[in-house]
């Protein structure tokens, strides 16, 4: 007869069912945001800079595009990705100096990173809307 082992443990790594610890969430989001900031982030930023500085007409065209609510929302989302990447990066530098690398501190640190990223986005978002 089968021995009843701990049946509640998942048999497969179902990514929709497993719950990652907070530092892991910060880490994977650091990678995802970094990738998105590279592409399409860098080309869009360069194109925006070119439009801003090329001529009076292109400057006004840029302002028109940026005043579209959908574009503004996408810009705000990109800002959040960037700020999270920045905060997670600062945490990384702290970890390099062995600051906050113990389990409890690492969890607290990742919580601070997540919250400050979102909070800074909110504040800057209010300022530029």
């Amino acid at each position: 007869m089968e021995v009843n082992l701990q049946n509640k443990r998942p048999k497969h790594l179902d990514l929709l069912k497993i719950k990652q610890p907070l530092p892991a969430v910060v880490s994977i989001f650091h990678r995802i945001s970094g990738t998105l900031l590279f592409f399409p982030g860098i080309p869009l930023m360069l194109y925006g800079l070119q439009m801003m500085l090329n001529s009076q007409q292109s400057f006004e065209a840029l302002l028109d595009v940026l005043s579209i609510p959908v574009i503004k929302s996408v810009l705000l989302l990109s800002l959040w990705f960037f700020l999270h990447h920045l905060c997670a990066g600062i945490r990384h530098l702290a970890l390099d100096f062995h600051i906050g690398s113990a389990l409890a501190q690492a969890r607290l640190g990742s919580k601070i990173v997540l919250i400050s990223g979102a909070l800074l986005t909110l504040l800057i978002g209010i300022a530029i809307w």
Partner: protein
């Protein structure tokens, strides 16, 4: 970049330069963005001519060029690592 000739098994420090460049570029970009943030906040350029004059400053031009060098280097190391 890893030099594949004359490989050493232990203590070769192949990754040390990448590790350091990743962090130095990150710190530089952070300083640049803080500096630009403060500059834009203080000057608060409203129209095309004002923005143009900000980027006509030689110091800002050099810093912006270095920012993009750092940005591409920072990203390149990640791709190289995979």
């Amino acid at each position: 970049m890893v030099n594949h000739t004359n490989r050493i098994v232990t203590g070769a420090h192949y990754g040390l330069k990448d590790w350091l460049v990743q962090r130095v570029t990150a710190v530089f970009m952070t300083i640049y963005l803080l500096f630009m943030g403060v500059t834009v906040f203080v000057i608060s350029p409203q129209d095309y001519d004002a923005w143009k004059s900000v980027f006509n400053n030689q110091l800002i031009r050099i810093a912006t060029f270095l920012f993009f060098v750092a940005l591409f280097w920072h990203a390149w190391i990640v791709f190289e690592t995979y």
